[in-house]
Subunit: 229 residues, 2 copies
Amino acid sequence: MSRARTASRSHSRQRRDDEKELRREAIIDAAEAVFARAGFETAKMEDVARRARISRALVYLYFKNKAELQLAVCRRALNILRERLVAAAAAAPSGYAQIGAIGRAYIAFADEFPLYFAALSRFEAHRPESVAPGSTERAVLEAGVAVHEVTIAALRQGMRDGTIRRIDKPMLVALTLWGFTHGAIQIAQTKAAFLEEVGLSADEFLGHAIRFGTGGLQPAAAPAKGKRK
Amino acid sequence: MSRARTASRSHSRQRRDDEKELRREAIIDAAEAVFARAGFETAKMEDVARRARISRALVYLYFKNKAELQLAVCRRALNILRERLVAAAAAAPSGYAQIGAIGRAYIAFADEFPLYFAALSRFEAHRPESVAPGSTERAVLEAGVAVHEVTIAALRQGMRDGTIRRIDKPMLVALTLWGFTHGAIQIAQTKAAFLEEVGLSADEFLGHAIRFGTGGLQPAAAPAKGKRK
DNA sequence: TGAATTACTGACACTGCGTCAGTAAAGTCG
DNA sequence: CGACTTTACTGACGCAGTGTCAGTAATTCA
């Protein structure tokens, strides 16, 4: 909309736009580092700016406010997550196995990028007043849908290859699985100390959660093959 | 510990302690009202104080800071939740039915006290550095355990009456169920608008989640009776 | 009653967010 | 190359909100 002004006689505009995008990404990089260290609440824009070697005011030229910065992180998180899920699903033999792989990939993702998982948790917990069509929030929401689509594809695959029972509303199941997995990981992360106290390891807990949560997908008669151990 | 000082010669100390406790509760009441309206982040201590008809500084005499106030709300939430779960479980015929009832009671709780559920979500998402033995955080954690115990009791009951399969580590399953349910409710709440867009109602989603999440509990051979509809 | 303890408040320091007027730099055109 | 425009950037400000503290009012105790 604002991009195509007068068909930019020179290509310097293009170059500058690229640089702008680069700087934008650099700011998000800085934000991630700061958020990771301090947590979203206590992180200071001042620190983000310093880390990006920029004045604090300039950050506000690229992002409306702190919340927008957080959303930018969420978007990155979801994009990376989607990649991981796709990769995990691709390596699995059956639809049912894909679902398990997706769940474990989400767990691995949370383990590898604690900040990203935390960002998603925040986003998940935040109840939006109203999501404007063009807003960043909307974009994040859509990135989320793209993630769910991976699950849905796996479910469809499973129904095709017979490893997953008939499902009327795949989105319903995908969301359920997402909620389950996210909830379980969150507990595993934040209650790790408590789990230890009770004599459980986070890994054991999550492994159980995955098995438990995916069990209901198998066809009634013949249980799927991939069930390991 | 600090209560029994010198065996309080008069009973005026007792009375004053009671009043203090009353005021404390009143402050939490005020906090709940303000938090509910504004959300935890944006809620102002000023408003809490005004609502409690107290100076802002006095609030800090009763609660170290805003976070402690939030924890106090969490504690209330967990106590009330526990009551609800116990009541729900008591009315169910079998152990398996109790588990379903507990899940639905949690959903009803979240529906009835959105603030409490939000408070628990925050608590669940917050990763503590270290939980000091005497801290409020510890107390909340223990209130949480008391809630899990209700689920564990139901699991045990189900194993006794044969409606639930053999389970090695009930706490593991209880935590899994908790994580699942919490995650599902959170999605249902925060993504309600999105669910509508996709043609799903929050109730439908949660009903599905409960059925889906508890399915894995039944014994292999004979499915439990209580499965309604 | 006066002394001591406890309840309470107003005012302050401090921190951190978001804004804006203004400066520096880069691009554009003769 | 200048003059002039557009864009990138910053320092400094206002503001809001948290937590603290010295000091005052109220209660209790003797």
